[in-house]
Symmetry: C2
């Protein structure tokens, strides 16, 4: 069964034997949980809701059959795979080679651009829904809870972002991008 997110935010999470967690991907409305992935379910990997979520599931067999018959569907699936792999590769690079501030800045910008694509963020005000808890950010960036808090405080103190009431506003897009070093 492959879930497709219809509404709300979720995350696919890998949980280590010592209990620590790594978020592999934050799932927004329209995302398939782990594109091709859940064709061959991964040990230790699961999908968790961040907000309340509405979703539908597809049976693997149906999906497979449709892909072979429907060329258009196949093309869209391929695109989704490519996008997901590209994001996975970016994440690998972030975790392997970038500092805490860079990782967090990139996470925010990433989410912002994905929300924008879906018409779920205000292009003018740079405001977006932001239901992530610090522990989600920590698990997504491979950092500790405490350090996430420190970096975000610093961002806030220097007037780069404003956070409140499950929403986030990018006050200084330039500055944030400079930190994220594209």
């Amino acid at each position: 069964m492959v879930p497709l997110i219809c509404e709300g935010w979720a995350a696919s999470v890998y949980i280590l034997s010592d209990g620590s967690r790594q978020i592999l991907s934050i799932l927004l409305p329209g995302d398939l949980a782990s594109t091709a992935l859940l064709f061959g379910a991964q040990a230790g990997c699961s999908v968790e809701a961040i907000t309340d979520v509405r979703y539908r599931t597809f049976a693997q067999a149906d999906l497979k059959a449709r892909l072979l018959n429907d060329a258009d569907c196949f093309a869209r699936f391929l695109r989704a795979c490519i996008d997901e792999t590209a994001r996975a590769d970016q994440l690998i690079t972030d975790l392997g080679r970038r500092t805490a501030a860079e990782r967090i800045a990139r996470l925010i910008l990433n989410l912002q651009s994905r929300l924008m694509q879906r018409g779920m963020a205000q292009p003018e005000t740079m405001e977006m829904e932001f239901p992530l808890r610090h522990h989600h950010i920590a698990d997504a960036t491979g950092l500790s809870l405490v350090h996430v808090s420190k970096v975000l405080s610093e961002f806030r103190r220097s007037g780069i972002v404003k956070i409140g009431d499950r929403s986030l506003t990018i006050l200084e897009p330039e500055a944030l991008q400079r930190i994220a070093l594209m």
Copy 2:
């Protein structure tokens, strides 16, 4: 053009603007460079040889057409995608949540198991071809050159592995697995 490795080792590498490098995947004979990936070439990502390499390339269009017509070929492609994504997810978790020794142990065990699958490693002696330089290991694990040397020296000193002459022997598989914490 999507390259398929026929002989030798290669790596797909992402190079940051500051010159630091992250290996996304080490490619062994039989691997497609970035399975579906190179359908939509990634900025900043390239494939580099580690040893001398022999390879063939496929045109995207051909590959796409074949996938739609040939169900068996499609199934094998899907499997390759799944395997690659699974490995990418493991790498994300390694970089996000594991220590230097764990990462290096896992890299070695990973390579060993992939070589074994291809009949390219001795199951009895636990010996395998190992052409990686320390800088390759560093770039694959998100560590510094110097630290890789220190960790490997420690592994050698405690008799867990033996390294020499472009080959590596796992002397204490149990110990290595214990460090890698599956």
